[in-house]
């Protein structure tokens, strides 16, 4: 089903984890739909992404696209990071099955959401960046449900 590259990133995901006091954090997706991605960015004073971590709840493609997206943004400045599209992530993974394309979109959105958070915290405006749409908090009530 998945390319070797996807499988490799799923088995050995890069940059899993959290960053305490991150410069920006973005969480997108929805537990109802089965995909949530959270990206932590550590951005230095030159707007270079010094470090990046992720956590993902989702299928194999969701994990692999998160991993690849973090690889792609690491060391880039925020303008360069803005250029990384879902297509770039997919290509870097040698493609995704059609039903999984939305995962790569989610990865793009997660980075944007983290950048938005960074911009808000620092009171700056990043060219071309819009407020992220998808939001985890819709699903939170269900999550906490006891059973």
């Amino acid at each position: 089903m998945y390319s070797e590259k996807v499988m490799e990133h799923f088995q050995h995901p890069r940059n899993v984890g959290e960053i305490e006091d991150a410069s920006g954090v973005g969480t997108v997706g929805n537990a109802k739909c089965g995909d949530i991605m959270r990206i932590y960015l550590d951005i230095d004073e030159n707007q270079i992404i010094r470090d990046v971590k992720f956590k993902t709840f989702g299928c194999g493609a969701a994990v692999a696209t998160s991993s690849m997206a973090t690889e792609l943004v690491k060391g880039k400045n925020i303008q360069e990071a803005m250029q990384i599209t879902n297509k770039a992530v997919m290509e870097a993974l040698d493609g995704l099955p059609p039903v999984k394309v939305h995962c790569s979109l989610l990865a793009e959105e997660a980075i944007h959401a983290a950048l938005w958070d960074y911009a808000e915290k620092n009171g700056i405006k990043i060219e071309g960046l819009e407020k992220p749409k998808s939001d985890i908090h819709e699903g939170e009530e269900d999550e906490a449900e006891e059973y």
Binding site: A31, D35, F57, V99
Partner: protein
């Protein structure tokens, strides 16, 4: 592939038993005659088909003339519903089924809705058992058919088929049951359970893929689904799949002979698996009924993680399982069955079905439990939902 393979997806399909293949083999290159032909050579094929029919009828307490071979469970389900709907439409256009049927029933019902039929989808309780009071209330004068599966393919819950059959009989309504998962695992008698039609598929009980049957009680008027030649008492056209039919017969014979011993053993391993997982993995639940379940079925939901990732990681350990029904893997939605028993979406996403066979060993189960523990922990360590949960608990 020399790596270890622990196949725990026997609800999706089973290994064709070697003795079944052995029984089929002479009907490919040797006795390949068309059973409908006149000459003696074809009589060998015809006899083999009749023998299989008798074995299967015997296993159900039915007459051999009531067994109609199809290409599988899906065709049997489609046939039963569409043809009964058409045959009885002068009586009415209302059908009763459940929310947890296989898609072969549900999508057929949706099709019938478009053709002007009305379908009531019964709720089930949190263990997956159909709500009998709802069923009784749903019956109307124009109800022509009740279709309730014998046992569920995802969560393994076994329905109170006899009670349902009694209601149907009392009200003079046809009763169909999709026994694709149950036949060969549970004893079934069509008279005792008042079953008018029953679907089955060979590959679920160590028979070959591509062959099934529909039991149709004598007297039930029903049209053909596949029109054409005069095969299957003129009710199902197409040259008989002789090797498939022979294989099905051999598989049923085997399943009936081994049922008691086999299911006892599977049940033991099943319970061991359930007990260990529930005890050793935190934030997990067992889906389905604790006892009224198929002897080889387990179905868990692991909170905070997603099923496909779990499946792929299990696969990397050589373990084959499924998340919901294999047939539904084309879709991204969580299983309709898990939603019907009341699971929230994100928990339904974290489900794992492991279904045993008579080849499963205690070692396999223990190996699998260890793998699950390791993988669930790993996936949770990557899960933002788990992160939130832990932080919230710490507060």
């Amino acid at each position: 592939m020399s790596k270890k393979l622990i196949y725990l997806d026997n609800a999706a399909t089973t290994k064709t038993a070697p003795e079944v293949v052995e029984a089929m083999l002479p009907y490919f290159t040797e006795n390949y005659g068309n059973p409908s032909s006149v000459y003696e050579f074809a009589g060998i094929s015809k006899k083999a088909v009749t023998e299989s029919r008798e074995i299967i009828a015997g296993a159900l307490g039915a007459d051999q003339s009531e067994i109609y071979f199809t290409a599988g469970g899906s065709e049997a389900d489609n046939w039963a519903l569409k043809a009964a709907a058409e045959a009885y439409k002068s009586k009415g256009r209302h059908i009763i089924t459940t929310k947890i049927e296989h898609h072969a029933i549900l999508h057929t019902c949706e099709y019938l809705e478009k053709q002007g039929y009305e379908v009531t989808y019964l709720d089930v309780d949190e263990t997956g058992i159909v709500k009998m009071d709802q069923l009784k209330k749903a019956v109307r004068p124009d109800t022509i058919l009740i279709s309730v599966m014998f046992a569920n393919n995802e969560i393994g819950t076994v329905q109170p088929v006899k009670e349902i059959g009694e209601i149907a009989k009392e009200k003079g309504i046809l009763f169909h049951t999709d026994a694709v998962q149950a036949f060969g695992q549970l004893p079934i008698n069509v008279d005792e359970y008042h079953i008018d039609m029953l679907s089955s598929s060979a590959h679920k009980l160590n028979g070959p893929k591509g062959i099934g049957f529909l039991y149709i009680r004598k007297g039930v008027k029903i049209r053909s689904f596949v029109h054409g030649g005069a095969q299957e008492r003129k009710r199902r056209a197409g040259t008989e799949n002789v090797p498939g039919i022979v294989g099905f017969g051999a598989a049923v014979k085997r399943a009936m002979e081994t049922m008691e011993e086999r299911t006892r053993k599977e049940q033991e391993l099943r319970d061991h698996l359930i007990d260990r997982v529930l005890k050793e993995v935190p934030y997990v639940r067992l889906n389905g009924h604790r006892t009224k379940r198929l002897p080889n079925n387990t179905n868990f939901s692991f909170q905070f993680i997603e099923g496909e990732s779990l499946l792929i990681m299990l696969d990397m350990e050589g373990i084959c399982g499924s998340s919901g029904s294999a047939c539904t893997s084309g879709s991204l939605d969580p299983s309709h069955v898990l939603l019907a028993i009341g699971l929230p979406h994100e928990i339904a996403h974290g489900s794992l079905r492991l279904t045993l066979s008579d080849e499963t060993t205690m070692e396999d189960i223990d190996y699998t439990v260890e793998a699950i523990k390791k993988i669930v922990e790993r996936l949770r360590s990557m899960s933002p939902l788990y992160e939130d949960f832990i932080k919230k608990s710490a507060r």
